[in-house]
């Protein structure tokens, strides 16, 4: 079972689908952020297992790049959540629509 590429890909697709379900079904902005992290992890798993299949080290480098990008994303996303929470006192993701409006200083 651990010998075939397909079982790793199946696990990665299950995790990716769970992440996608979290993004489309939840309104809590923290859960949406965590679902994005889960999807990034699933993609990492696909990269690493395909890299093991072809015995190449390059996908592992790509996975490291993805981890670094996730770290950068975490910093900006979480500071944005902190700012919005201080202003509106809610974690509803709908409040982020004010970011797209011209006059957001209510």
């Amino acid at each position: 079972m651990a010998d075939s590429l397909l079982s790793y890909i199946t696990l990665a697709m299950i995790l990716f689908s769970l992440g996608l379900l979290g993004v489309i079904s939840r309104k809590n902005i923290f859960i949406i952020y965590m679902s994005i992290e889960l999807m990034l992890n699933a993609i990492n798993l696909i990269f690493v297992s395909v890299g093991r299949y072809y015995e190449s080290i390059e996908p592992q480098v790509i996975a490291m790049v993805i981890i670094a990008i996730a770290a950068a994303e975490a910093a900006v996303f979480l500071s944005l959540i902190v700012v919005m929470y201080r202003r509106k006192k809610t974690l509803n993701s709908d409040i982020f629509t004010v970011l797209s409006q011209k006059d957001s200083n209510e």
């Binding site: 079972m1 651990a2 010998d3 075939s4 590429l5 397909l6 079982s7 790793y8 890909i9 199946t10 696990l11 697709m13 299950i14 995790l15 689908s17 769970l18 992440g19 996608l20 379900l21 489309i24 079904s25 939840r26 309104k27 809590n28 923290f30 859960i31 965590m34 679902s35 992290e37 889960l38 992890n41 990492n44 798993l45 690493v48 890299g51 093991r52 299949y53 015995e55 080290i57 390059e58 592992q60 480098v61 996975a63 490291m64 790049v65 981890i67 670094a68 990008i69 996730a70 770290a71 950068a72 975490a74 910093a75 900006v76 979480l78 500071s79 902190v82 700012v83 974690l91 509803n92």
Partner: protein, 165 residues
């Protein structure tokens, strides 16, 4: 033996993911996500990527999710700050059914690849020295771009999070 390890790790990964999208409190979701990430670190070790195994534990579980937990605790969220999610379960069920064809498509694409044994490779595959050589030979420009991206994110986070005048 490896099969048992894989099944246990996959079980923990999937149950952590399911818990993450079902819990109402963000703190429980974050703890479930840590479980998923640690299980994925073990799976990276099974795929002969020891450096990524360490990176996943140190960077993901140790830095990113800890930052997330810190922010969740720092905000002191009461239960009336949480958004109402009346259609959560029905959306999850409908979405899961809609995602089945997509998953079948991806798995069919991978099914056509010839079967190859995936045992753990010895001879330094995935070790830090091989990884670093590949990183600084073929991936130097992306590496420098990541440094710039991290610097930009750092500046952006500081600018966003400072107190309003």
């Amino acid at each position: 033996m490896i099969d048992i390890v894989f099944v246990v790790l996959a079980f923990f990964a999937v149950s952590g993911g399911v818990g993450m999208i079902l819990f109402a409190q963000p703190i429980y979701s974050a703890l479930s996500l840590i479980m998923t990430i640690l299980a994925l670190a073990g799976i990276f070790a099974l795929l002969s990527a020891p450096f990524l195994f360490m990176l996943q534990i140190i960077l993901y579980a140790g830095a990113i999710i800890t930052l997330l937990l810190f922010i969740i605790m720092f905000l002191n969220i009461q239960s009336d700050n949480l958004p109402e999610e009346p259609h959560k379960k029905s959306t999850i069920v409908v979405g899961a059914i809609l995602l089945v064809p997509f998953n079948i498509l991806i798995l069919k694409a991978f099914y056509t690849l010839p079967n190859k044994p995936m045992h753990i490779l010895g001879d330094n595959f995935g070790s830090i020295s091989l990884f670093g050589t590949e990183l600084f030979r073929g991936w130097l420009v992306p590496f420098e771009l990541i440094s710039i991206l991290l610097l930009t994110a750092l500046v952006g986070a500081v600018v966003l999070a400072r107190k309003d005048k």
